[in-house]
Protein backbone atom coordinates (compact mmCIF):
# COMPACT_ATOMS: atom_id res chain seq x y z
CA UNK A 1 0.00 0.00 0.00
CA UNK A 2 1.12 3.55 -0.66
CA UNK A 3 1.45 5.84 2.38
CA UNK A 4 -1.48 7.50 4.12
CA UNK A 5 -2.02 8.96 7.58
CA UNK A 6 -4.30 7.19 10.08
CA UNK A 7 -6.37 8.67 12.87
CA UNK A 8 -8.06 6.66 15.61
CA UNK A 9 -10.66 8.92 17.28
CA UNK A 10 -12.53 7.73 20.36
CA UNK A 11 -15.78 9.61 19.83
CA UNK A 12 -18.00 10.75 16.96
CA UNK A 13 -17.26 14.41 17.71
CA UNK A 14 -13.55 13.75 17.58
CA UNK A 15 -13.94 11.96 14.24
CA UNK A 16 -15.94 14.85 12.75
CA UNK A 17 -13.29 17.30 14.02
CA UNK A 18 -10.55 15.37 12.24
CA UNK A 19 -12.38 15.55 8.89
CA UNK A 20 -12.98 19.28 9.43
CA UNK A 21 -9.37 19.99 10.39
CA UNK A 22 -7.67 17.77 7.80
CA UNK A 23 -9.91 18.73 4.89
CA UNK A 24 -10.41 16.88 1.59
CA UNK A 25 -8.71 13.59 0.84
CA UNK A 26 -9.86 11.61 3.86
CA UNK A 27 -11.89 8.42 4.01
CA UNK A 28 -13.61 6.71 6.93
CA UNK A 29 -12.36 3.20 7.66
CA UNK A 30 -14.83 0.69 9.12
CA UNK A 31 -14.18 -3.06 8.89
CA UNK A 32 -11.74 -2.59 6.03
CA UNK A 33 -12.88 -5.61 4.02
CA UNK A 34 -13.65 -3.41 1.02
CA UNK A 35 -11.50 -0.34 1.65
CA UNK A 36 -8.20 -2.01 2.55
CA UNK A 37 -8.51 -4.33 -0.45
CA UNK A 38 -9.18 -1.32 -2.69
CA UNK A 39 -6.13 0.48 -1.24
CA UNK A 40 -3.99 -2.59 -1.90
CA UNK A 41 -5.24 -2.66 -5.46
CA UNK A 42 -4.18 0.96 -5.87
CA UNK A 43 -7.44 2.75 -5.23
CA UNK A 44 -8.81 2.63 -8.79
CA UNK A 45 -12.36 3.17 -7.63
CA UNK A 46 -11.62 6.53 -5.96
CA UNK A 47 -8.70 8.95 -5.53
CA UNK A 48 -6.11 7.39 -3.22
CA UNK A 49 -6.79 8.87 0.24
CA UNK A 50 -4.34 11.13 2.05
CA UNK A 51 -5.69 9.96 5.40
CA UNK A 52 -8.02 7.41 6.98
CA UNK A 53 -10.22 7.97 10.00
CA UNK A 54 -10.87 4.76 11.88
CA UNK A 55 -14.47 4.25 13.04
CA UNK A 56 -13.59 1.20 15.12
CA UNK A 57 -13.57 2.94 18.49
CA UNK A 58 -16.61 5.17 18.14
CA UNK A 59 -19.23 4.07 20.70
CA UNK A 60 -21.89 6.08 18.79
CA UNK A 61 -21.65 3.60 15.89
CA UNK A 62 -22.33 0.57 18.07
CA UNK A 63 -25.90 1.36 19.19
CA UNK A 64 -28.19 -1.64 19.42
CA UNK A 65 -31.61 -1.39 20.99
CA UNK A 66 -35.20 -2.47 20.55
CA UNK A 67 -38.29 -0.42 21.41
CA UNK A 68 -41.91 -1.57 20.91
CA UNK A 69 -42.98 1.67 19.21
CA UNK A 70 -39.76 2.96 17.69
CA UNK A 71 -38.37 -0.33 16.46
CA UNK A 72 -34.71 -1.22 16.13
CA UNK A 73 -31.68 1.03 16.42
CA UNK A 74 -28.77 -0.63 14.70
CA UNK A 75 -25.33 0.99 14.85
CA UNK A 76 -23.54 1.24 11.52
CA UNK A 77 -20.38 -0.15 13.13
CA UNK A 78 -21.88 -3.50 14.10
CA UNK A 79 -20.29 -6.41 12.28
CA UNK A 80 -22.12 -8.83 10.02
CA UNK A 81 -21.57 -11.57 12.62
CA UNK A 82 -23.07 -9.38 15.35
CA UNK A 83 -26.08 -8.46 13.21
CA UNK A 84 -26.71 -12.00 11.96
CA UNK A 85 -26.62 -13.48 15.47
CA UNK A 86 -28.65 -10.79 17.25
CA UNK A 87 -31.94 -12.12 18.63
CA UNK A 88 -33.95 -8.97 17.85
CA UNK A 89 -32.74 -9.06 14.26
CA UNK A 90 -33.33 -12.81 13.88
CA UNK A 91 -36.82 -12.72 15.34
CA UNK A 92 -38.20 -9.42 14.05
CA UNK A 93 -36.10 -8.62 10.96
CA UNK A 94 -35.10 -12.05 9.63
CA UNK A 95 -34.36 -10.74 6.11
CA UNK A 96 -31.52 -8.70 7.59
CA UNK A 97 -30.14 -11.70 9.48
CA UNK A 98 -30.30 -13.63 6.18
CA UNK A 99 -28.33 -10.94 4.33
CA UNK A 100 -25.72 -10.27 7.02
CA UNK A 101 -25.15 -14.02 7.38
CA UNK A 102 -24.18 -14.36 3.71
CA UNK A 103 -21.43 -11.76 3.41
CA UNK A 104 -18.16 -13.55 2.64
CA UNK A 105 -16.50 -15.93 5.07
CA UNK A 106 -16.62 -16.17 8.85
CA UNK A 107 -13.54 -13.95 8.82
CA UNK A 108 -15.30 -11.37 6.62
CA UNK A 109 -18.38 -11.39 8.84
CA UNK A 110 -16.21 -10.74 11.90
CA UNK A 111 -14.70 -7.65 10.27
CA UNK A 112 -17.20 -6.16 7.80
CA UNK A 113 -19.80 -3.75 9.21
CA UNK A 114 -23.37 -3.19 8.11
CA UNK A 115 -22.63 0.52 7.66
CA UNK A 116 -19.61 -0.27 5.54
CA UNK A 117 -21.65 -2.60 3.36
CA UNK A 118 -24.16 0.18 2.73
CA UNK A 119 -21.56 2.96 2.24
CA UNK A 120 -19.49 0.89 -0.17
CA UNK A 121 -22.60 1.18 -2.33
CA UNK A 122 -22.21 -1.99 -4.36
CA UNK A 123 -25.52 -2.75 -6.16
CA UNK A 124 -25.04 -6.36 -4.98
CA UNK A 125 -24.56 -5.61 -1.25
CA UNK A 126 -26.34 -8.37 0.67
CA UNK A 127 -27.64 -6.19 3.50
CA UNK A 128 -29.07 -3.57 1.13
CA UNK A 129 -32.26 -5.28 -0.13
CA UNK A 130 -33.19 -6.42 3.41
CA UNK A 131 -32.72 -2.92 4.81
CA UNK A 132 -34.79 -1.46 1.95
CA UNK A 133 -37.60 -4.00 2.36
CA UNK A 134 -37.59 -3.35 6.12
CA UNK A 135 -37.86 0.42 5.45
CA UNK A 136 -34.65 1.39 7.21
CA UNK A 137 -33.76 5.01 7.70
CA UNK A 138 -30.13 6.11 7.87
CA UNK A 139 -28.90 8.64 10.40
CA UNK A 140 -26.20 10.83 8.89
CA UNK A 141 -24.10 13.09 11.09
CA UNK A 142 -21.79 15.77 9.75
CA UNK A 143 -20.49 19.30 10.16
CA UNK A 144 -23.97 20.73 9.45
CA UNK A 145 -25.63 18.59 12.09
CA UNK A 146 -27.62 15.45 11.50
CA UNK A 147 -30.38 14.18 9.24
CA UNK A 148 -32.50 11.08 8.85
CA UNK A 149 -32.84 9.74 5.33
CA UNK A 150 -34.89 6.85 3.96
CA UNK A 151 -32.23 4.39 2.84
CA UNK A 152 -33.70 4.35 -0.66
CA UNK A 153 -32.40 7.91 -1.13
CA UNK A 154 -28.90 7.10 0.15
CA UNK A 155 -27.35 5.63 -3.01
CA UNK A 156 -26.64 7.58 -6.19
CA UNK A 157 -24.93 4.88 -8.25
CA UNK A 158 -22.31 2.13 -7.97
CA UNK A 159 -19.90 3.26 -5.23
CA UNK A 160 -21.68 6.61 -4.90
CA UNK A 161 -23.76 7.86 -1.98
CA UNK A 162 -25.21 11.13 -0.76
CA UNK A 163 -22.53 11.38 1.93
CA UNK A 164 -20.55 14.59 1.62
CA UNK A 165 -17.01 15.12 2.89
CA UNK A 166 -16.88 14.77 6.65
CA UNK A 167 -20.31 13.15 6.98
CA UNK A 168 -20.73 9.74 8.58
CA UNK A 169 -23.53 7.18 8.53
CA UNK A 170 -23.94 6.42 12.23
CA UNK A 171 -26.95 4.10 12.57
CA UNK A 172 -30.06 2.62 11.00
CA UNK A 173 -33.59 2.90 12.36
CA UNK A 174 -35.98 0.11 11.44
CA UNK A 175 -39.69 0.53 12.23
CA UNK A 176 -41.26 -2.26 14.28
CA UNK A 177 -42.70 -5.08 12.17
CA UNK A 178 -46.50 -5.25 11.86
CA UNK A 179 -48.44 -8.18 13.35
CA UNK A 180 -48.74 -11.19 11.00
CA UNK A 181 -45.66 -10.20 9.08
CA UNK A 182 -42.56 -11.93 7.78
CA UNK A 183 -39.44 -11.02 5.83
CA UNK A 184 -36.66 -12.85 4.06
CA UNK A 185 -33.71 -12.39 1.73
CA UNK A 186 -32.22 -14.81 -0.77
CA UNK A 187 -29.56 -14.39 -3.39
CA UNK A 188 -28.58 -16.37 -6.43
CA UNK A 189 -24.89 -17.31 -6.67
CA UNK A 190 -23.12 -20.09 -8.58
CA UNK A 191 -21.29 -21.05 -5.37
CA UNK A 192 -22.90 -21.44 -1.97
CA UNK A 193 -20.28 -19.40 -0.12
CA UNK A 194 -17.71 -16.70 -0.81
CA UNK A 195 -19.61 -15.31 -3.76
CA UNK A 196 -21.34 -12.12 -4.82
CA UNK A 197 -25.04 -11.98 -5.65
CA UNK A 198 -26.01 -12.34 -9.31
CA UNK A 199 -29.42 -11.25 -8.06
CA UNK A 200 -30.58 -10.59 -4.51
CA UNK A 201 -34.23 -10.30 -3.51
CA UNK A 202 -35.73 -9.29 -0.17
CA UNK A 203 -39.43 -9.27 0.61
CA UNK A 204 -41.37 -8.17 3.66
CA UNK A 205 -45.12 -8.80 3.89
CA UNK A 206 -47.86 -8.25 6.44
CA UNK A 207 -51.34 -9.77 6.33
CA UNK A 208 -54.48 -8.04 7.58
CA UNK A 209 -56.13 -9.13 10.84
CA UNK A 210 -58.20 -11.81 9.18
CA UNK A 211 -55.18 -13.07 7.26
CA UNK A 212 -57.05 -12.84 3.95
CA UNK A 213 -55.44 -9.87 2.25
CA UNK A 214 -52.00 -8.36 2.08
CA UNK A 215 -51.87 -5.23 4.17
CA UNK A 216 -48.31 -4.37 3.26
CA UNK A 217 -45.80 -5.63 0.71
CA UNK A 218 -42.19 -4.54 0.28
CA UNK A 219 -39.96 -5.94 -2.45
CA UNK A 220 -36.32 -4.91 -2.83
CA UNK A 221 -33.87 -6.02 -5.50
CA UNK A 222 -30.08 -6.16 -5.50
CA UNK A 223 -27.60 -6.38 -8.41
CA UNK A 224 -30.19 -5.52 -11.08
CA UNK A 225 -29.81 -1.72 -11.23
CA UNK A 226 -27.08 0.88 -10.55
CA UNK A 227 -28.21 0.85 -6.90
CA UNK A 228 -30.29 -1.52 -4.79
CA UNK A 229 -33.94 -0.66 -5.58
CA UNK A 230 -37.50 -1.08 -4.37
CA UNK A 231 -39.94 -2.66 -6.82
CA UNK A 232 -42.68 -0.18 -6.00
CA UNK A 233 -45.12 -1.00 -8.78
CA UNK A 234 -44.97 -4.68 -7.90
CA UNK A 235 -45.62 -3.81 -4.25
CA UNK A 236 -48.61 -1.64 -5.16
CA UNK A 237 -50.07 -4.35 -7.40
CA UNK A 238 -50.16 -6.78 -4.50
CA UNK A 239 -51.11 -4.58 -1.54
CA UNK A 240 -54.74 -4.88 -0.56
CA UNK A 241 -55.10 -8.04 -2.65
CA UNK A 242 -55.73 -11.59 -1.58
CA UNK A 243 -52.44 -13.48 -1.88
CA UNK A 244 -53.56 -15.75 -4.73
CA UNK A 245 -50.99 -17.54 -6.89
CA UNK A 246 -52.12 -15.37 -9.82
CA UNK A 247 -51.65 -12.10 -7.92
CA UNK A 248 -48.21 -13.20 -6.73
CA UNK A 249 -47.16 -14.20 -10.25
CA UNK A 250 -48.39 -10.86 -11.58
CA UNK A 251 -46.38 -8.94 -8.97
CA UNK A 252 -43.26 -10.98 -9.79
CA UNK A 253 -43.71 -10.16 -13.49
CA UNK A 254 -43.97 -6.45 -12.66
CA UNK A 255 -40.81 -6.68 -10.53
CA UNK A 256 -39.06 -8.11 -13.60
CA UNK A 257 -40.08 -5.03 -15.57
CA UNK A 258 -38.81 -2.75 -12.81
CA UNK A 259 -35.35 -4.36 -12.81
CA UNK A 260 -32.80 -2.62 -15.02
CA UNK A 261 -30.03 -5.23 -15.11
CA UNK A 262 -26.80 -5.15 -17.07
CA UNK A 263 -24.74 -8.04 -18.43
CA UNK A 264 -21.43 -8.60 -16.69
CA UNK A 265 -19.06 -11.35 -15.62
CA UNK A 266 -21.59 -12.70 -13.11
CA UNK A 267 -24.53 -13.03 -15.45
CA UNK A 268 -26.38 -11.66 -18.45
CA UNK A 269 -29.15 -9.11 -18.23
CA UNK A 270 -31.60 -11.74 -19.48
CA UNK A 271 -30.57 -14.22 -16.77
CA UNK A 272 -30.89 -11.55 -14.11
CA UNK A 273 -34.33 -10.53 -15.29
CA UNK A 274 -35.42 -14.16 -15.33
CA UNK A 275 -34.09 -14.68 -11.80
CA UNK A 276 -35.94 -11.62 -10.49
CA UNK A 277 -39.22 -13.20 -11.60
CA UNK A 278 -38.50 -16.66 -10.21
CA UNK A 279 -37.04 -15.46 -6.94
CA UNK A 280 -39.64 -12.77 -6.24
CA UNK A 281 -42.46 -15.25 -6.76
CA UNK A 282 -40.86 -17.89 -4.52
CA UNK A 283 -39.95 -15.43 -1.78
CA UNK A 284 -43.42 -13.87 -1.73
CA UNK A 285 -45.01 -17.30 -1.35
CA UNK A 286 -42.64 -18.28 1.42
CA UNK A 287 -43.00 -14.97 3.27
CA UNK A 288 -46.81 -15.10 3.08
CA UNK A 289 -46.75 -18.66 4.39
CA UNK A 290 -44.54 -17.60 7.28
CA UNK A 291 -46.71 -14.57 8.04
CA UNK A 292 -49.76 -16.87 8.19
CA UNK A 293 -48.04 -19.19 10.62
CA UNK A 294 -47.04 -16.12 12.67
Amino acid sequence: MRPFAHFAPRSLDEALDIFRREGEGGRPLAGGTDLVVQLKEGGHKFPYPRYLVSLRRLPELRALGWHEEQGLRLGAGLTMAEVASNDWVRQRYPALADGAGLVGSRQTMNMATVGGNVCNAAPSADTAPPLLALEAQARIVGPQGERLLPLEEFWLGPGETVLRHGELLTEFLLPPPLPRSASLYRRHTPRQQMDIAVVGVAVAVALDDGGRTLKKVRIALGAVAPTPIRARRAEAALEGQAPSPEAIARAAAIAQEEARPISDVRGSAALRRHLVGVMTERLLREAIERARRG
Partner: protein
Amino acid sequence: MPKRVITLTVNGETHEVAVEPWWTLLYTVREELGLTGSKEGCGTGDCGACSMLLDGRLVTSCIVLAVEADGCQVTTIEGLAQGGQLHPVQQAFVEKGAVQCGYCIPGMVMAAYDLLRRQPDPTLEEVRLALAGNLCRCTGYTKIYEAVLAAAERMRLEGARG
Protein backbone atom coordinates in the same frame (compact mmCIF):
# COMPACT_ATOMS: atom_id res chain seq x y z
CA MET B 1 5.76 11.34 9.56
CA PRO B 2 7.31 9.13 12.29
CA LYS B 3 6.12 5.61 12.83
CA ARG B 4 3.47 5.07 15.47
CA VAL B 5 4.10 2.83 18.46
CA ILE B 6 1.29 0.36 19.06
CA THR B 7 0.77 -2.27 21.72
CA LEU B 8 -0.03 -5.82 20.65
CA THR B 9 -0.50 -8.72 23.01
CA VAL B 10 0.37 -11.73 20.88
CA ASN B 11 -0.14 -15.22 22.30
CA GLY B 12 -0.13 -13.71 25.79
CA GLU B 13 3.06 -11.69 25.36
CA THR B 14 2.82 -7.90 25.15
CA HIS B 15 4.91 -6.07 22.55
CA GLU B 16 5.38 -2.43 21.69
CA VAL B 17 5.96 -2.15 17.96
CA ALA B 18 6.68 0.89 15.79
CA VAL B 19 4.55 0.62 12.64
CA GLU B 20 3.66 2.61 9.56
CA PRO B 21 -0.10 3.26 9.18
CA TRP B 22 -0.21 1.22 5.96
CA TRP B 23 1.39 -1.93 7.40
CA THR B 24 -0.95 -4.84 7.83
CA LEU B 25 -1.28 -6.86 11.02
CA LEU B 26 0.04 -9.88 9.10
CA TYR B 27 3.16 -8.02 7.93
CA THR B 28 3.79 -6.67 11.42
CA VAL B 29 3.43 -10.03 13.14
CA ARG B 30 5.63 -11.77 10.58
CA GLU B 31 8.31 -9.18 9.90
CA GLU B 32 8.53 -7.24 13.16
CA LEU B 33 7.69 -9.95 15.69
CA GLY B 34 9.20 -12.84 13.71
CA LEU B 35 6.12 -15.05 13.97
CA THR B 36 6.08 -16.48 10.45
CA GLY B 37 3.51 -19.24 10.95
CA SER B 38 0.70 -17.11 9.50
CA LYS B 39 1.02 -16.95 5.72
CA GLU B 40 0.16 -14.46 3.05
CA GLY B 41 -1.73 -16.11 0.20
CA CYS B 42 -3.94 -13.77 -1.78
CA GLY B 43 -3.35 -10.62 0.25
CA THR B 44 -6.98 -9.59 -0.30
CA GLY B 45 -8.85 -11.47 2.42
CA ASP B 46 -10.12 -14.26 0.17
CA CYS B 47 -7.91 -17.28 0.93
CA GLY B 48 -7.68 -17.34 4.73
CA ALA B 49 -3.98 -18.33 4.96
CA CYS B 50 -3.35 -15.34 7.25
CA SER B 51 -6.23 -16.12 9.64
CA MET B 52 -5.65 -15.23 13.28
CA LEU B 53 -7.78 -14.24 16.25
CA LEU B 54 -8.09 -10.54 17.00
CA ASP B 55 -9.71 -9.99 20.41
CA GLY B 56 -11.06 -13.51 20.08
CA ARG B 57 -12.53 -13.08 16.59
CA LEU B 58 -11.21 -14.85 13.52
CA VAL B 59 -9.96 -12.31 10.94
CA THR B 60 -7.89 -12.30 7.78
CA SER B 61 -4.90 -10.33 9.05
CA CYS B 62 -3.69 -9.39 5.55
CA ILE B 63 -6.45 -6.78 5.33
CA VAL B 64 -6.31 -5.55 8.93
CA LEU B 65 -4.11 -2.48 9.43
CA ALA B 66 -1.71 -2.97 12.34
CA VAL B 67 -2.75 0.41 13.76
CA GLU B 68 -6.34 -0.87 13.92
CA ALA B 69 -5.17 -3.67 16.23
CA ASP B 70 -3.53 -1.28 18.71
CA GLY B 71 -4.26 -2.48 22.23
CA CYS B 72 -5.75 -5.79 21.06
CA GLN B 73 -5.16 -9.41 21.96
CA VAL B 74 -3.90 -11.49 19.05
CA THR B 75 -3.69 -15.28 18.85
CA THR B 76 -1.65 -16.76 16.01
CA ILE B 77 -0.95 -20.36 15.05
CA GLU B 78 2.14 -20.23 17.30
CA GLY B 79 -0.14 -19.69 20.29
CA LEU B 80 -2.13 -22.94 20.05
CA ALA B 81 0.40 -25.52 21.24
CA GLN B 82 0.83 -25.48 25.02
CA GLY B 83 3.91 -26.73 26.89
CA GLY B 84 5.27 -28.47 23.80
CA GLN B 85 1.96 -30.30 23.27
CA LEU B 86 0.18 -29.76 19.97
CA HIS B 87 -3.41 -28.55 20.20
CA PRO B 88 -5.92 -31.36 19.42
CA VAL B 89 -6.74 -29.65 16.11
CA GLN B 90 -3.08 -29.66 15.12
CA GLN B 91 -2.63 -33.24 16.30
CA ALA B 92 -5.64 -34.37 14.25
CA PHE B 93 -4.25 -32.68 11.11
CA VAL B 94 -1.01 -34.67 11.59
CA GLU B 95 -2.76 -37.97 12.27
CA LYS B 96 -5.25 -37.66 9.42
CA GLY B 97 -2.61 -36.62 6.90
CA ALA B 98 -4.53 -33.42 6.27
CA VAL B 99 -1.40 -31.50 5.26
CA GLN B 100 -0.10 -31.50 1.70
CA CYS B 101 2.05 -28.48 0.77
CA GLY B 102 1.13 -26.93 4.12
CA TYR B 103 0.77 -23.32 3.08
CA CYS B 104 -2.95 -23.03 3.91
CA ILE B 105 -2.71 -25.14 7.07
CA PRO B 106 -2.04 -22.44 9.71
CA GLY B 107 -5.17 -20.63 8.52
CA MET B 108 -7.16 -23.85 8.31
CA VAL B 109 -6.16 -24.76 11.87
CA MET B 110 -7.08 -21.30 13.17
CA ALA B 111 -10.48 -21.39 11.45
CA ALA B 112 -11.12 -24.91 12.79
CA TYR B 113 -10.01 -23.85 16.28
CA ASP B 114 -12.42 -20.89 16.11
CA LEU B 115 -15.29 -23.15 14.96
CA LEU B 116 -14.77 -25.72 17.74
CA ARG B 117 -14.82 -23.02 20.41
CA ARG B 118 -18.23 -21.92 19.16
CA GLN B 119 -19.59 -25.30 18.10
CA PRO B 120 -17.99 -28.31 19.82
CA ASP B 121 -20.02 -30.87 17.87
CA PRO B 122 -20.26 -29.63 14.27
CA THR B 123 -21.71 -31.51 11.35
CA LEU B 124 -19.65 -31.97 8.18
CA GLU B 125 -21.74 -29.22 6.58
CA GLU B 126 -20.95 -26.85 9.45
CA VAL B 127 -17.24 -27.61 9.10
CA ARG B 128 -17.39 -26.89 5.37
CA LEU B 129 -19.22 -23.63 6.03
CA ALA B 130 -16.77 -22.53 8.75
CA LEU B 131 -13.81 -23.21 6.43
CA ALA B 132 -15.41 -21.56 3.36
CA GLY B 133 -12.98 -18.67 3.71
CA ASN B 134 -9.90 -20.92 3.68
CA LEU B 135 -8.63 -22.16 0.34
CA CYS B 136 -6.38 -25.20 -0.15
CA ARG B 137 -4.78 -25.11 -3.60
CA CYS B 138 -3.71 -28.74 -3.17
CA THR B 139 -7.50 -29.31 -2.92
CA GLY B 140 -6.99 -31.47 0.17
CA TYR B 141 -10.35 -30.60 1.64
CA THR B 142 -11.60 -34.10 2.40
CA LYS B 143 -8.74 -34.92 4.76
CA ILE B 144 -8.96 -31.47 6.32
CA TYR B 145 -12.66 -31.93 7.13
CA GLU B 146 -11.93 -35.40 8.53
CA ALA B 147 -9.24 -33.91 10.76
CA VAL B 148 -11.55 -31.20 12.09
CA LEU B 149 -14.29 -33.73 12.88
CA ALA B 150 -11.73 -36.01 14.58
CA ALA B 151 -10.40 -33.08 16.62
CA ALA B 152 -13.92 -32.19 17.68
CA GLU B 153 -14.52 -35.72 18.88
CA ARG B 154 -11.25 -35.84 20.80
CA MET B 155 -11.88 -32.47 22.41
CA ARG B 156 -15.36 -33.56 23.51
CA LEU B 157 -13.94 -36.73 25.05
CA GLU B 158 -11.15 -34.84 26.79
CA GLY B 159 -13.64 -32.22 27.96
CA ALA B 160 -15.87 -34.96 29.37
CA ARG B 161 -12.91 -36.57 31.13
CA GLY B 162 -11.35 -33.33 32.25
